[in-house]
Symmetry: C2
């Protein structure tokens, strides 16, 4: 039988003792001075797409190396790799391979979604496990503006291959209200999306009791998160927005179950760029590892309060 | 002064005498038997990602060659290239370059969108004109599930570089209703998105009287299209869904202005894969060119009724 992403995630969270994941969003303008020096870039950044992609590859490998035994998963933000075109995607392929080799689950954060046939192509690209498609994630994020039939092809592939999905429901940014908070007959768009995912996701329930298709719920949206948890106890929440984006760690305690499972918390800026938060004394790898350990401790403290 | 995509598009539509564009969605399963033979694939398709990407590159070049003097623009559906990872994106880069060299405007159909900083990275990747980012479109499609601040960074870059945007409002697929048709205080999500685009797009009005930021409106949604046109006379409609998806050509006449401008109509399957519609007598390039000419004639007939 195919093993499900969600069950592997639960095992990983238990093994590492944390629901934290590291979000890899490499933007050279945020690299530490030490790393910029290593790359020979200084303040002007990369001189070419090749140079930029090489920097991303090196940075991603450094992060994977620094955190692989601390967290169960990493989330790659595809946009930052797409900046350098095919060379950037090649760097992402290398980073994904490094992460998997190091035992990490890989979430591709691409917010994909389109009409049926095109969603099918995206699912093939990122979740099919086909040797023809070299950039494979263990899970992928979706943006459901195009609705039910934009999500269905992904769920079909997720069922076949066991890979996971996270469909955006209520995101961490304020502007999401334009679409997500629109409410008809007492139900908002984000509730409708979550209900659809909940229903469609019954086809891919993991042994752990959670569906292999989860939702994205920003940690900045405490009330909606609580309400969604009450309505949908079997959906895992991918929950960005703690810390840098202003989310309150307390909400975490309210959305996890008795075993502490139910949310995966990706953190990016605070872990990747500790020098931006005043931690400048260490080499880049040690600084990232230390920041990741601090994140894990803070999260554990919030969960045990 | 930076010239705007929307003004170049108007000039192109006038020069070619048609609002049709060709949507390049290359899926090898739909390639003609003649092309499959040329590629040495037969019915089993590509043997590797290299092979698959090479086939896409060849097919895209063939389409560009066949239609470049007939239509003002081509729309590349990114998903089908992403299937082959970095090699697929390299093929897309080659196809985009070929299209631009042939004088075509290039729309990248990627339905991108994320929170602010990440949208900024996508805008850099596809619209910045930076030599560091080799995959540049003249315009990009966005999916606005993440709302206002997911769209704003693109509009900022569109203003700086003159490149265009099409934000999904009411798409051609049925399932879009889950999100797009939800209505509060008498206004649907798609109307709210269109209104936001209309407002934000005032910052980038072209000389032709249309905003450089348009919306995607499926040709299958005749009533919504009419209503959106009445409310938003300055938004160009990217209008897929005629023909293969069941859209009625009559709606076109109702959304264009006195000069016949106001909509861009991408067609994909009927042009790229005429053998699937019973036209099997010609070599692939001639078949595609003939199908494109037929599309242009049908559209002209619908517009002049």
């Amino acid at each position: 039988m195919t093993s499900y992403f969600i069950d592997e995630l639960k095992a990983g969270v238990e093994r590492r003792g944390t629901p934290c994941a590291v979000g890899i969003d490499p933007l050279w303008e945020r690299f530490s001075p030490a790393l910029l020096r290593d790359l020979g870039w200084g303040e002007t950044g990369p001189a070419s797409a090749e140079d930029g992609a090489a920097g991303l590859e090196r940075f991603g490998a450094l992060v994977v190396d620094a955190v692989h035994d601390l967290v169960p998963a990493v989330k790659f933000q595809m946009a930052y790799y797409e900046v350098y075109g095919s060379l950037g995607i090649r760097a992402l392929e290398a980073n994904v391979a490094a992460a998997r080799n190091a035992g990490l689950l890989v979430i591709l954060d691409g917010k994909r979604g389109d009409i049926g046939a095109t969603s099918e192509a995206y699912a093939r690209a990122y979740l099919s496990g086909s040797p023809l498609s070299p950039l494979q994630g263990d899970a992928l994020t979706l943006a459901p503006y195009l609705g039910t039939d934009s999500v269905d092809p992904f769920i079909k592939v997720a069922k076949e291959t066991g890979r996971g999905l996270f469909v955006c429901a209520k995101t961490s940014n304020r502007g999401g209200a334009l679409v997500q908070d629109v409410s008809q007959d007492g139900r908002t768009v984000y509730e409708r999306v979550a209900a659809y995912v909940n229903e469609a996701g019954r086809a891919v329930m993991g042994e752990c009791g959670y569906s292999n298709v989860g939702i994205v719920v920003g940690a900045t949206a405490a009330e909606p998160a609580r309400a969604l948890r009450q309505s949908f106890p079997h959906l895992l929440f991918l929950m960005p927005g703690l810390g840098a984006q202003g989310g309150d760690a307390e909400i975490l305690r309210q959305v996890v179950d008795a075993e502490g499972f139910g949310a995966l918390v990706p953190a990016s800026r605070s872990v990747l760029y500790p020098h931006l938060f005043g931690h400048t004394a260490q080499d880049p790898k040690t600084a990232i590892r230390t920041a990741c350990q601090a994140l894990i401790e803070e999260t554990a403290a919030a969960l045990s309060q």
